[in-house]
Assembly symmetry: C2
DNA sequence: GTCTATATTGAGATAGAC
DNA sequence: GTCTATCTCAATATAGAC
């Protein structure tokens, strides 16, 4: 994955920008102003280009969104695949998924941020929501398996548990900053601790 | 507070709609399509009125948003005031706030949903964010007090704890439906259990 | 690969009649 | 309290030159 907010257009040869740089600039603006409120003119201005030049790289605003959402979903689906390859207990696989989700969330922060704001008003958004629901279903199955093992509390519906867990995890995008005082690993440890053991003093 | 999605314009005398009905119709649309993507024309259409008639009730689209956000923030600030009036331990006051937040969230669901999507691009939104941050600060202080009491874990920064707690709580707006199988009280119990005790089987 | 210029659509908001 | 008609502005997207 590329660095977002990188220095201007790190290209050799001809001046101008590449697709990735256009995408990251657009994503940054989408997050700042919201997707709808971000005009192609604003993206063009940030790139130092005309609107028409932006359309040369992406044929529509919605395709930029689609490319960004695919980065986020691909990462999360990858974590699930890796967890499925493990041979340990359901609890171990669940922990792996939760930690992996935090990792994807921090390493692909802008893309996941965008994914979590999608509401499903266009085809691109609906397809992203479909993949996200599929991810949720898989995690819910893992929670149910861990409950059947006896390693996870059984007094709350696995669907509710999963939603609350990912409510906690996903909220990280609201405040985590890669240049902040906290490393991604440290954050993942704290999130796992809160999720597994809760708030109360032991 | 009024019922959202109520039956059409429950009014006596002249036909026509009142401010509250206009607001609730607008809020429902804002949630469905996003604030920016919702046009005054769409709101008018749902009301069975012309755009001009909508402007008779609210002088601007932003004022509808402001009124909705005030409903949400007023509720949360009220919980904080009530908690401050209690004389118990910090832990008890914190539990009261968490439970009260879940209650406001479910009883004023559309307004809180809107609040949680605000990004701060207009004056109305920035003012709402300011009040929300103030609320967060108060809760963080309560978490710190509970930690000093020894009732809350001390290995994680109170600010991180507060953010994760409200990440979990706020995520309820993404899936809770008042007509669903779960009562608001039952949900509050489950959320408190997950927040305090965590996921692991005891 | 980038530009200027423009076609086209729809937005928020207002005027003034009924 | 509601309407029709309209103003003004900005959006997405395209045409065609360089």
């Amino acid at each position: 994955m590329s660095e977002l907010n990188a220095v201007p257009a790190p290209k050799k040869g001809r001046p101008g920008v590449d697709r990735q740089y256009v995408l990251d600039t657009a994503v940054t603006a989408f997050i700042e102003f919201g997707y709808d409120a971000t005009s192609m003119g604003m993206i063009a201005e940030r790139l130092g280009l005309s609107k028409a030049a932006v359309y040369h790289h992406y044929p529509a605003k919605a395709e930029m969104l689609g490319a960004a959402l695919d980065e986020a979903l691909g990462g999360l689906e990858g974590v699930l695949l890796e967890a499925g390859a493990h041979t340990g207990s359901a609890e171990e696989r669940l922990s792996y998924v939760l930690r992996g989700a935090v990792h994807i969330l921090t390493s692909r922060l802008p893309y996941v941020t965008l994914l979590l704001r999608v509401r499903g008003n266009t085809d691109v958004e609906r397809e992203a929501l479909r993949r996200r629901r599929e991810f949720d279903r898989s995690v819910t199955a893992l929670v149910a398996a861990a409950r059947d093992e006896g390693s996870v509390r059984s007094d709350i519906d696995p669907r509710v548990v999963t939603r609350l867990l990912f409510g906690m995890i996903n909220s990280i995008v609201e405040w985590y900053r890669p240049d902040g005082p906290e490393s991604a690993d440290q954050l993942a440890n704290e999130v796992l601790a809160m999720a597994l053991e809760g708030l109360s003093a032991t």
